[in-house]
Symmetry: C2
Subunit: 391 residues, 2 copies
């Protein structure tokens, strides 16, 4: 396998953009990504594109979204395909694009994600939040995305004595991080008191435990590592990229206090990178609900099962701590445009490892390695990537 | 790049199956594919799955169809992702799966496609037929899938003098081929007179020029060519696999009497295989409308522009001719379950090159090479694969 590098990345702000459709959002991220390549780059070097999106198929463009978007930015000829695994669609776009570079088939490949959730016809935006689960056993039985994660949170609280207050440490931290991220959907400090007393969604979750619906796009430019130095002196290597699955219906899984798909993907990504959890300097994880970030710490090996909340209490995963998690603000505060999220994480890490985060208070200094964690629905699929700063 | 072989393939009959959903259709094709591997095979050797489907997202399972289906057949852990490019979704599943094997990442990978069009809620089955085009410029302006191809046919007739009778040679041939295919949706001889006088759909197309809506699934087992001989003495090599795109809206394209995406994909696939159009012994092409098969002959280099109808008149592309096209019956008579079609073509070719087609009258004898041609919508994307029989 050829080694894979990232040489450029861009993303839109996440939020509600009533006058921007999928084309406008994608183009904005695309132009920023292309412009971020340091030198000697031209869009016509891009040989293929893999684009993650969930809600195409239910709304605007029903089929062939990927060639449509690439045509819109002036690259109508190259292979372009949509990949979908619900909220992990962006991560899977990154994963399949990396495979095309690893195969030696292409030198420069685009991985992207885009989603429009905030002003779509009828109830579509909300409908997509029901997609996380198994249609026959979960969705049609009336369960919601929040409801399924709430089941996991309740079991976790029962098994490990996690408290309501500890859960709230996740949104409090991520809102604080997002304060310094001008692209975040919510730039608003959240006190622990507020975080514990929002309107109830599904016990134990109140509204502050839940990531929002968002519009947004993110684009990453991948390149064969051998030739990446032609375009930049400071590539970021995609040292490990791996995916795995699990039963969609939680009742079929071995555990509900962790995600098997994440554990398997993480093991494979660490193995490929030749690194372990102790080597990671920062991470962007999929905090679609507060419990999800706590389980992520454990599934990724940052701590043992049941110890996730301790990392939060000790400030270890806060900016300035030993292992900052979600310096972007995470899904909770940065926003969660489903298909874009996985590529947006890679975009944040690209800038963090290069030291090019524009806001000094959000820049993790001296980081050399990073990890991204993107989950489909309630854990039916997951992509874990490990990044290494170029020398 | 590692070389890629096909070691197994299976598919359901195509047609209307009111009591079978996506899970049942996929499982049926999966079990046939796994059972078709000659020896020493076990499903737990499958390391990843790429599944093409268009209509998930608008119907039954909204997200994460791929891990859902793999969990249903007992492989819940492996990376599984849906790929979508409208009617070329199956071809793109094959293409991305082949890339994962070519990368050396996986030894055995599943490529699959599945679609349910015949008994879905409301107008969804028909709605998907509007997906071929650009939503803003074509679909919302009222154009249909048949209407767009009809525009191309009219232009082609104007430019090259193609007659209404010549168009009908396509469905007549493909219906004749399907007579010997027990898995075909329509096993019914079609006379030239009938073919020319069906109810009008969009001039010049009557109903016999148009492929049907279908339920169905197809599964292909890919393997690294180095180890394929462990599982069979007669692998079929995927000597070339390539994809390309074009503007979705036909008004943006360079020509409307051929598909640029197909020409580009074919050039790349021939180059990779080290073969040319003259080396191909049989082909499965995407005859979604009668004109599409005629343009395919030309775009694939089987003849020069404007000469497609002559191949039909000479019987060259009929079973028994020098270059049989669509021995399965093609999309017109075998059926066209959108996401399944591309993998179903590979399944037909797998058996043709191995000499294991069950119906002697349909078996192309002595074929050593083959080509498949799968088109997204009206040509916004295309996958072309070139196959070589193992020695």
């Amino acid at each position: 396998m050829e080694e894979v590098a990232i040489i450029g990345a861009g993303q839109t702000p996440y939020g509600e953009f009533l006058y921007k459709g999928l084309k406008e959002l994608f183009t904005e991220a695309y132009l920023e990504a292309v412009a971020s390549v340091d030198r000697d780059f031209s869009p016509d070097l891009i040989e293929a594109a893999y684009i993650g999106c969930l809600s195409a198929g239910g709304g605007f463009q029903l089929g062939q979204l990927a060639p449509l978007l690439m045509g819109h930015v002036g690259l109508p000829d190259i292979p372009a395909v949509r990949v979908e695994n619900a909220c992990a669609s962006g991560g899977f776009a990154l994963y399949t694009a990396a495979m095309a570079v690893a195969a030696g088939r292409h030198e420069v490949v685009l991985a992207a994600g885009v989603e429009k959730m905030r002003d779509v016809a009828g109830d579509k935006g909300r409908l997509w939040l029901g997609v996380s689960g198994d249609t026959e056993y979960e969705r049609l039985a009336g369960s919601t995305f929040a409801g399924i994660y709430a089941l996991m949170a309740n079991r976790y609280m029962h098994d490990y004595g996690l408290t309501r207050e500890q859960l709230s440490l996740v949104p409090v931290k991520n809102h604080r991080h997002a304060l310094a991220n001008p692209k975040a959907q919510f730039r608003r400090e959240l006190t622990l008191e507020e975080a514990m007393s929002g309107p109830m969604v599904a016990y134990p979750f109140n509204v502050w435990d839940c990531s929002p619906t968002s519009d947004g796009a993110a684009v990453v430019v991948l390149c064969n590592a051998k030739t990446a130095l032609r375009f930049t002196d400071r590539p970021v290597y995609l040292a490990g990229f791996a995916a795995a699955s699990d039963y969609l219906a939680v009742h079929d899984r071995e555990t509900t206090t962790g995600l098997g798909a994440v554990r398997r993907a993480a093991a494979a990504a660490y193995r490929q990178a030749g690194l372990g959890p102790g080597d990671i300097d920062l991470a962007e994880v999929h905090d679609c609900f507060s419990i999800a970030e706590i389980m992520a710490y454990e599934d990724l090996g940052f701590c043992r099962p049941g110890e996730g909340a301790r990392l939060l209490e000790e400030g270890r995963t806060t900016l300035g701590g030993g292992l900052p998690v979600n310096p972007s603000g995470g899904l909770k505060a940065k926003g969660h445009p489903l298909g874009a999220t996985g590529c947006g994480q890679a975009c944040e890490i690209f800038h963090q490892l290069r030291g090019t985060v524009r806001e000094p208070s959000r820049q993790v200094s001296g980081a050399r390695t990073a990890l991204s964690h993107n989950v489909g629905g309630s854990g039916g699929s997951a992509v874990v990537c490990v990044y290494r700063k170029g020398e």
